[in-house]
């Protein structure tokens, strides 16, 4: 296990060699990631430092992909998606254009969840969906929209909860077929997003730490789920301010199920159900 000083050294070396700054990541989970990398790469601390110094840009991207966490699911936490479906999107229905940003989109399942929901709500035509992640390999996967079926089968239940059922009316059931959105090939263990939904979202690489708006847009909705948990309070607060500045008014922010807005930024957002709205201050 790497100790606390070694972690600081690794962060400094990465900062020097590549343009990534992990100084304000949550220490414990970052440490755990580095331990895992040492295990998987069969390196010790010095070996890793050497490896970082000698990395090609591609190898560095691979390392960044391995350090950062890319868990994502279709319609993760249906109850949060109920907020999106019944409380957020209806308020934007009459807008001429709607801009939605998935910050930290990983391999894209959440982006496609949004596209599916928008399609079902008849809003897809007026929406621009943007998605960004620090991990280029994850973005490539997201664009491809192809996943391992056996890893995603359980999330089809989430699809049922959000798309087929209505939590406010248990008698309602919309039998939307999976085949409307997915090609499922059980023999190849593959579930792919239908081609017509693949080229809608605009994917871009982005390191949130730098707080650059890579889309040059303001957004009606920002989805940023289980990304802030990897940042310490200081960086969380910087990112929340960045979100605040890049939200329109009214604007909606959706975080992970166990994430909340703490500290000075509390005054900038209203907490509602499972989301936040921008406050004018």
């Amino acid at each position: 296990m790497v100790d606390d000083n070694q972690i600081k050294d690794i962060i400094q070396v990465i900062k020097k060699v590549a343009d990534y700054d992990f100084s304000d990541y949550s220490i414990k989970s970052f440490q755990r990631r580095i331990d895992k990398i040492l295990e998987d790469y069969r390196l010790d601390f010095n070996g890793l430092v050497k490896r970082i110094y000698s990395s090609s840009p591609e190898e560095m991207e691979k390392l960044i992909a391995d350090i950062t966490v890319n868990t994502t699911e279709l319609f993760r936490n249906p109850i949060v998606w109920h907020s999106v479906k019944y409380r957020i999107l209806p308020k934007l229905k009459d807008n001429e254009k709607i801009d939605i940003w998935h910050a930290g989109c990983s391999t894209g399942q959440e982006v496609y969840s949004m596209l599916i929901l928008l399609k079902e709500m008849g809003m897809l035509d007026k929406v621009n969906v943007y998605a960004s992640d620090i991990n280029q390999l994850a973005i490539d996967k997201a664009k491809k929209g192809e996943y391992i079926y056996r890893f995603n089968i359980e999330y089809l239940q989430n699809f049922d909860e959000v798309i087929r059922k209505n939590p406010y009316n248990f008698e309602e059931y919309n039998d939307v077929p999976y085949s409307r959105y997915f090609d499922i090939d059980q023999e190849l263990d593959k579930i792919s997003i239908k081609n017509e939904y693949k080229d809608i979202a605009i994917f871009k690489k982005q390191d949130l730490v730098k707080r650059e708006n890579v889309f040059y847009k303001k957004f009606d909705v920002i989805m940023c789920r289980n990304v802030l948990i990897y940042f310490n309070l200081k960086l969380q607060s910087q990112i929340l301010n960045f979100f605040y500045d890049n939200l329109k008014f009214p604007g909606y922010l959706v975080l992970g199920y166990h994430e909340s807005i703490l500290g000075n930024e509390v005054v900038k957002f209203h907490k509602k159900h499972y989301y936040y709205t921008k406050k004018l201050i």
Partner: protein, 190 residues
């Protein structure tokens, strides 16, 4: 900062022990408790209520970066790993499951071992896998106290036995003894 921090890991067969413990712990218990239980993926909030029925102490699934306070029991949320950070806050992560478990007992044990060192008391209960043994060993190595449920008393021996096989644990106790030990701990560390 509290004087002691208790971290409990349990899996299959540990539910009754946990319920008994929660019932026995007195109001104003001065030590924060981290609770990491393996459970079914889709059971979320109902689980907290089931556990809290007889508890006099506040039991909650923490949000990320919540401050650790005495008088609270922090139950690792379903589908998240839970860490105790150096700055007395809790952090969560959704990185991959370890030994098929998220939350992973080992992850929380490791973090408590390093953040809280000799203030940590680790307790490993019944379970059908080996999660927690390595982490408990780390608690011991960092100066904390380690407690394992007596395998003969556990519904499923695998998890406590794995710890006993791995290193010399400080205490091997029955359910009753564990409840008794933890519920009177504040008399030992005033």
């Amino acid at each position: 900062m509290a004087k002691k921090y208790i971290v409990i890991g349990g899996s299959a067969g540990s539910f009754q022990t946990i319920l008994g413990l929660l019932e026995a712990l007195p109001k104003n218990y001065p030590f924060p408790i981290f609770l990491v239980l393996h459970r079914l993926k889709n059971i979320s909030s109902g689980f907290v209520e089931a556990l809290s029925i007889k508890s006099k102490i506040n039991l909650l699934e923490p949000n990320d970066k919540e401050i650790i306070e005495a008088g609270n029991i922090y139950l690792a949320p379903a589908n998240y790993h839970m860490y105790a950070e150096f700055d007395n806050t809790i952090s969560l992560s959704t990185e991959e499951a370890i030994n098929h478990s998220r939350p992973s007992i080992d992850i929380t044990f490791y973090s408590v071992a390093h953040s809280l060192r000799e203030k940590a008391i680790g307790v490993l209960l019944s379970g059908a896998n080996k999660d927690g043994a390595e982490g408990l060993k780390e608690i011991k190595e960092m100066g904390g106290i380690t407690v394992v449920q007596d395998p003969n008393d556990a519904q499923i021996q695998t998890m406590p036995q794995a710890a006993i096989d791995l290193f010399k644990v400080d205490k091997i106790l029955t359910t009753e003894e564990i409840i008794n030990y933890l519920s009177k701990l504040h008399f030992l560390y005033v």
